[in-house]
Subunit: 306 residues, 2 copies
DNA sequence: CGAGTGTGATACCTTTCCGGTATGAGCTGC
DNA sequence: GCAGCTCATACCGGAAAGGTATCACACTCG
């Protein structure tokens, strides 16, 4: 049995007339008769009763008709379903992301965009550090990662696309003498203590900061390293030292910490989307596109506020 | 798109290997590759990603797989549905019947049989007199009739199959002098008044009664005609006269009426199944078969009780 | 690094079967 | 009883499915 048989059967059942049905199907009447005969033979029972002025449905045909229609409709649904998935309008996306994707605002905004415009896409979210993301990719547990920078050896099989960057500011304990100044220069920080993130988390930002300090004639004294921007902020709050952090952290208003822009520090924190090389996924492409759009809007509104 | 494409697609999606899928499908690998390619072209997107060690499903393929399975399952269900209808295991039957079908017990028993053994058959029941049944057949409102005897002109296009017969007894007002006798002879009824059903309702029974009376040397004095066995019984109860009725009526115990067998009155009331000539309906055939079985059981138990 | 193996794709041929044309058989209605 | 309508049958040509041989590519392993 093929869908052709069902299409022909439905046409005859609707016209109750082989000639008209054949016309509607754009074929001649004899081949139609033969296809129906073949279908009846395969099912093992007559579907039509041949009567003088055309045909009638037998009880078997009457039972078959709605089921045949359902089958044809289901076949069409299958086709449309594949096409929608190919266009990225449906499907499932598993996203691993670092903490900064949340507080930069990019992830929440993309999520609300997807919920509003593409509700039939299922999203699974996992907060994972870069190393965990690399593992998750290898195990096939996620389709997209959001991080600052992938583990060094992972660049070979991961495609990395920068999507967002935001300025770096200095986090200062409220009681610190520098907290009062509205604007600081980098050169004035030569004698301070710093808490810093591990270089591998965001090498570009790390190297940029070190290079700018060198240019000002000093090497920052790092008294502690720590993972996670919020952790860094709480160390600052505890008075351990100053910290360079992405500006969006400042919106969280950690008690005992103030944030200041630093003149001469044109360094940015970046966020990139990463995925397995050579893996095509329309949903992921849509997600990355949405991320870029959201990133653009965020950057513009930040500049406007400045 | 044809079901063949779906069958092939599902096989490849399950094996993730063209060679093994082809083997399972009992075809060679190249034609399978081509069918899949044709399917992908028709849908407009790749369903498989060709990778070194076989193939993987693309997002479109992943979305397509369950829908394709549903389509194939639905096609099978359609086929089975037609086959079940052809065997009379499913479908709908509209039955018109005269009152006697109910009180003879044959209709209630067939109904309970159907509900127990063939629950997926929908039954629609209409109490209709023979004339109404003939009209309902012509309008296509019923598929089966149960009556004593069809209208005269209807025998040409109706098939009539006797399925049941039961003895005729005499209904007598309780106060009547004959009510006391255990057994009556027909000859002793020559001077009585009778209420009788119209001849066309059941000509065989009518003629049989008249002929038996003639043989006993009298012609029954009919003081009133009436339709419906219960109506007849209530006229008897009112003292209008005696009435010949089917024995099963006696089980209703109409107040003021007693029923007596009459010696020499070997006449029966018959019930027949009727349907449009040349119309094949497996459900109707099953119903008639069930009616015959029930009728046999009823006759045996009645004889046993006698 | 090169031969070997396994995979799907391509080329080409054979066979099946779908669709077309011509015609027949059966019933209806004038 | 004959015209007219309807579906079935017979037969033919061509599209398309399936088979065989072979290629291209990539990974593997010595």
């Amino acid at each position: 049995m093929e869908l052709r048989h069902l299409r022909y059967f439905v046409a005859v059942a609707e016209e109750l007339h082989f000639g008209r049905a054949a016309e509607r199907l754009r074929i001649a009447q004899p081949p139609l008769s033969r296809q129906i005969r073949d279908l009846e033979r395969e099912i093992g029972t007559a579907l039509f009763a041949r009567v003088p002025r055309g045909v009638e449905l037998t009880p078997a045909g009457t039972a078959f008709l709605p089921e045949a229609r359902l089958t044809l409709a289901q076949a069409e649904r299958a086709q449309r379903s594949a096409q929608r998935a190919a266009k990225g309008e449906t499907g499932r996306l598993r996203v691993g992301f670092v903490e900064a994707a949340t507080h930069s605002g990019i992830l929440p905004d993309v999520l609300s965009f997807f919920r509003a415009h593409l509700p039939s896409i299922g999203l699974s979210l996992f907060e994972l550090d870069p190393l965990q993301q690399a593992e998750a990719f290898q195990d096939g547990r996620i389709d997209l990662g959001i991080l600052h920078s992938p583990p060094l050896d992972a660049e070979r099989w991961l495609r990395v696309e920068p999507v967002y960057a935001e300025p770096v500011v200095l986090a200062i304990p409220k009681s610190h003498r520098l907290g009062g100044r509205a604007r600081l220069s980098l050169g004035g920080l030569a004698d301070e203590s710093f808490v810093l993130f591990p270089r591998h988390v965001e090498p570009a930002m790390y190297d940029g900061i070190i290079a700018r300090c060198r240019a000002e004639g000093f090497s920052p004294r790092v008294v502690q390293e720590a993972n996670g921007w919020h952790t860094l902020a709480s160390l600052v709050s505890a008075g351990v030292g100053l910290a360079f952090v992405p500006r969006s952290i400042s919106s969280f208003q950690q008690a005992g910490v103030v944030y200041r822009a630093v003149r001469d520090l044109d360094v940015e924190m970046s966020l990139s989307a990463v995925w397995k090389r050579g893996e095509r996924s329309p949903v992921r492409e849509r997600f990355v596109t949405a991320m870029r759009a959201v990133a653009g809007k965020l950057s513009r509104s930040a500049r406007g506020a400045k």
